[in-house]
Structure formats: C-alpha cells, structure tokens
C-alpha cells in the first residue's frame, strides 16, 4: 500500500482532473441538467464548508447568500444588463457586500448564537423577497432571467451552462484549497480549535473571520448565479430558510473541513435527494436516520472515514 502522504500528494496534484472526469462521466447516467445541478450544489457546499468545516461556525442561514446571488442575477438581468459575465460579477459582489455588511455583527458570535443569527437574517431576507420587495422580486412568483450570447458563448445551451458550471466548481476547489492551505487557512483552523490562543499569537482574529465570512458569502452567491444560469428563473425557494438543512447535511455527510469532503458530500446529498424519493415516499426520514448514523459512527463523514483508514494511528506514530 502506498504511504498516506503519497496518496494525498497525488490527489492534490490531479484533483481538478479527477473531479472534472467524474462529472463528465456522470452525464450519461444523470443527464446534463442534473449533473449541472450536482456541480452547482457542490460549489455551495464548498462555500459553506469554509465557515463550518474550517472556521468551526455552524450557520443555519446560508441560503441567504445563495439567494442574494440568485436574486442579484435575476434583478441585474431584468434592470441592468443581459451580459452573463457582468451579471456574474454583480451576483458575487452582491453576496460579498451582504457579507461585508452582516459580517461584523455575525462573526462576533459563536456557537448557537452564530447559527441562529444567520437564520434570523435569512428569515429577514426571505421576507423581503417574498413581501417587502415583491414589486421588484416578483414575490412568490419570482422572476425570469435572460442572458445574451457573448460571441460563441450561448448560455441558452445546457452544454454551455454545464461546462461553465464545471469550470466554476474547479476554480472554487482550487481557490478553497489554496486558501485553506495558506497561512489564512491555518489560522481559520486555529480559530476553530482555540480562538483565544490564536489571538495571543498576535492575530486580530475578528478580521480573519470577517474575511472568511465574506469569501464564503461570495462563493454561495456564485452558486446562486449558477442556479439561475441553469434554470433561468428565480423563486423564493432559492432563499428558503427551510433548505439550510441541505447544505449542513451535505457538509456533514462528506466530511466537514475538507475540500474533497465538501464535493463528496454535495454529490452524496444530491444522489440521495434525487433518487431516494423514487423508492421511498418519505425519503426525508432516511436523511434523519443517516444523520444519526453519521453523528454516532462516522463523525468525520465519508471522506474523513476513507482518509482515516490511510492515516497512521497514534501508536504507529509513537513506534515511528
């Protein structure tokens, strides 16, 4: 058997190719639109995992940032431009702007307070798109979006949306991997473990937490943009607080705090939620049972369990 460091080095070297190959191979099995759905959800899980997995802050309101990206996309298409690349920038900027504004309030909190304050803002956002700003957002009916052709790039084609979404996922994996292996990422993990001690090493942890929050919101907004690119309309379900459980579950099932865990979790959740309902009417019950099994038996998630088999135990280290 190859040593664990060899496995992880090889994976890191070819991870983007492997991920691209898996999503390419899934097209005949899943259909192109569904594969695109899977890809987009993985982008969202990656954004969420930066906060939850790396920084240790569980958010019950991350649909807000996905929703902001989705609504910014539709509103920009309705009122500003049809250029998809300009809209992409607007959507990400909108998500990050919400992160900039809400971050100073939210990142000062921890634990249940952090989770619930996010949920509270998500509820406010949901109320605003359904009722408060319904004149602009279309309320319960939502809005349609239209994207113009840019040269040969036509987002009316499902293949183009698929390819673009896959490129966005690969870019996100690359970005999150670079971020989390940089000093910034090491510090986020330290904040998760013991923030006070990180402070005493000379770090203003608030600034780093805020930055991570903004980046996470931006990635979630990118997922929102890609969703609208895929479906060409937005409804309040893209900001529904009740759907937060999806991303939390995906993060847990894959293995929080790992780029590949987030992708595995995203794919696993989408497989369960797309295919289990065909066989079990109340499939959500299965999610509950699966969550119990995860919490009690596989706390590190699928990816954590698999890599755990490859990592030497403490006794092996001691004997080394």
């Amino acid at each position: 058997m190859l040593p664990p460091s060899h496995w992880s080095d090889t994976l890191r070297k070819y991870d983007l190719i492997i991920i691209a190959a898996i999503f390419l191979a899934s097209i005949p099995v899943l259909s192109i639109q569904r594969t695109t759905d899977f890809i987009i959800f993985c982008v969202f899980v990656l954004g969420y995992d930066l906060l939850y997995g790396y920084m240790g802050r569980l958010s019950f309101g991350h649909m807000l940032y996905l929703g902001v990206g989705a609504y910014a996309t539709a509103l920009a298409s309705e009122y500003l431009t049809h250029n998809p690349f300009l809209i992409l920038i607007i959507a990400i900027a909108a998500g990050m702007l919400v992160g900039v504004i809400l971050g100073p309030i939210i990142v000062r909190t921890t634990g249940a307070c952090f989770a619930l304050i996010n949920l509270a803002f998500n509820q406010v956002g949901f109320f605003l798109v359904v009722t408060g700003f319904s004149h602009y957002t279309g309320g319960e009916d939502g809005l349609s979006a239209y994207f113009s052709k840019i040269g040969p790039i036509n987002f009316g084609s499902k293949i183009t949306v698929y390819v673009f979404s896959l490129l966005c996922l690969l870019a996100t994996v690359f970005l999150v991997r670079r971020l989390t292996s940089s000093p910034f990422g090491i510090l986020l993990r330290t904040i998760k473990e013991n923030e006070t001690r990180a402070k005493f090493l000379g770090y203003n942890t608030f600034r780093y937490k805020w930055a991570a929050f903004i980046i996470s919101a931006g990635i979630s907004a990118l997922a929102g943009f890609l969703n609208i690119l895929n479906y060409t309309y937005v409804t309040p379900s893209f900001m529904d607080p009740g759907r937060n459980v999806e991303v939390i579950f995906a993060s847990l099932i894959g293995g929080a705090g790992n780029v590949y865990g987030a992708v595995v979790g995203g794919v696993s959740y989408m497989l369960i939620s797309n295919y289990l309902p065909r066989y079990i009417q109340r499939w959500e019950m299965f999610l509950g049972i699966a969550l119990l099994i995860l919490v009690f038996r596989f706390r590190m998630g699928i990816w954590g369990y698999v890599t755990g088999l490859l990592v030497p135990t403490k006794r092996e280290i001691a004997n080394d």
């Binding site: 000093p183 993990r189 998760k192 402070k199 770090y203 080394d320």
Partner: protein, 230 residues
C-alpha cells in the same frame, strides 16, 4: 525596567483576585513567582498578557502604558505567553503550529523552524505529524520554541514543569536556562529546584498579593524559606 506592574487590582466579577500588586522585571532578567494554588499567579500573568483588564493600577511595558491592550497587541509588542496546560493546536501539524507563530512576526518559516529545532532538535522528526500526537514534554518544548519566534522581549511561562517526568523537566529547564541573559522571563513555578536554577529574583504571592520579594542568591536557594510560601 522592561515591565512595571503598579498597584493593580483585578477581579472576576465581584471576586477580587489581585490586590495592589507591584512587580518589576528588568531587561533580560528572569523572575519567578511562587505561591499556593489560588494565590493569583496565573491571573497576574493573564493580566500582563492582556487577557484581563485591571480595575486599578497600571501595567507599563517598554515605557508604554499597556493597560487595556488586547492580547494580540501585547503579542505584537513582544510579549509571549506559554500556557500552563501545554495545549498546542492539536489538529495542526507541528510545522503548521510553528508557521502560525511566524506569520505575525517578521520571521520566515525557515527561521521559525530553526528557532524551534535549535532548542529541541528531535522535533524535526515530527514536523509533518499532528501536534496532538506529541507527548506532554514535547508539547511544552514546542510551545517554548514557538514563543521564541520573532525575537520576543518578554516571556510569560506558566508552570512549565508541571506534570512532566524528571528527565523532561531537566530538558525544559535547560531551554529556559539558555534564554537567560537573552530576554526577560516571568516564570510561575512551584518546583523549588527549578526556581533555584532559573530565578534572578523571586516574588512570593499569597491571597492575591505580593507578600515577599527575594533577590539574594542565597535566599533564592534557601528552600526552607521559599517553601513557607507554598
């Protein structure tokens, strides 16, 4: 003087923990603080480090009043705190633990690793291992090495030999001894042999007050006298 603590009172809520504490530390001087459990030794270190704000009095470091400064500011001013519980960042590798201490300073990764390896050469074998797998002694030496990164001016070390085997105590003492004359240290310690070996001066604490200052070498080595404060 590098550090002057002047008449500080510190309380946890209504519970007064330190009362009118005065203490000075000269440049490159090693001070030991002795006292029973609950005497306020750790609270004093935590106050100097910026974790607690005194209700009264001043903390002057390097001719600046640093009262109310945050722990991160104190760290950036050159104060390092080595905790009593020997807790490293267990989920990070040894190398990442060292790198983390290097980032806020001007030290490069290479310099930071060299600093730690210089005081504990064996650590180079564990660089890519999770720090959670290290023994208590290895953790203490890692923490001491990490605290030395970036040329600190003052080291606050809380019970560095507590719970360690005799051989490891000697190793930790050797490291602290090697720092003498290079930077200032305040060491909270109960082991009188260690105090005799390291201290230039000793402060004894009881019930949140400094009750005695011992500066004579012969008195520092007089175990019977110091034992009366324990």
């Amino acid at each position: 003087m590098l550090l002057s603590v002047m008449g500080i009172d510190v309380a946890y809520g209504h519970a007064q923990v330190l009362s009118d504490v005065n203490l000075t530390v000269g440049v490159n001087e090693t001070i030991c603080i002795v006292g029973r459990n609950g005497a306020g030794k750790t609270t004093l270190l935590r106050t100097i480090a910026g974790f607690l704000a005194p209700k009264k009095g001043y903390v002057v470091f390097n001719d600046h009043n640093v009262q109310g400064q945050s722990p991160e500011n104190m760290a950036n001013l050159g104060v390092r705190y080595v905790y009593q519980d020997k807790r490293v960042f267990t989920k990070l590798t040894v190398k990442e633990n060292i790198q983390l201490a290097a980032f806020p300073t001007n030290a490069t990764d290479h310099e930071a690793i060299d600093t730690v390896v210089n005081i504990y050469p064996k650590i180079s074998r564990f660089m890519d291992k999770k720090a959670g797998g290290l023994s208590g002694g290895q953790r203490q030496l890692l923490l001491l090495g990490r605290a030395l990164i970036g040329s600190p001016k003052l080291l606050l070390v809380d019970e560095p030999t507590e719970g360690l085997a005799a051989g490891t105590i000697d190793e930790v003492c050797g490291v602290l001894e090697s720092m003498k004359g290079k930077l200032s240290c305040i060491i909270v310690e109960q082991n009188l042999a260690v105090i005799a070996r390291l201290a230039d001066r000793v402060y004894a604490m009881r019930d949140g007050r400094i009750v005695s200052e011992v500066a004579e070498r012969s008195q520092i080595e007089d175990r019977a006298q110091l034992e009366s404060y324990l």
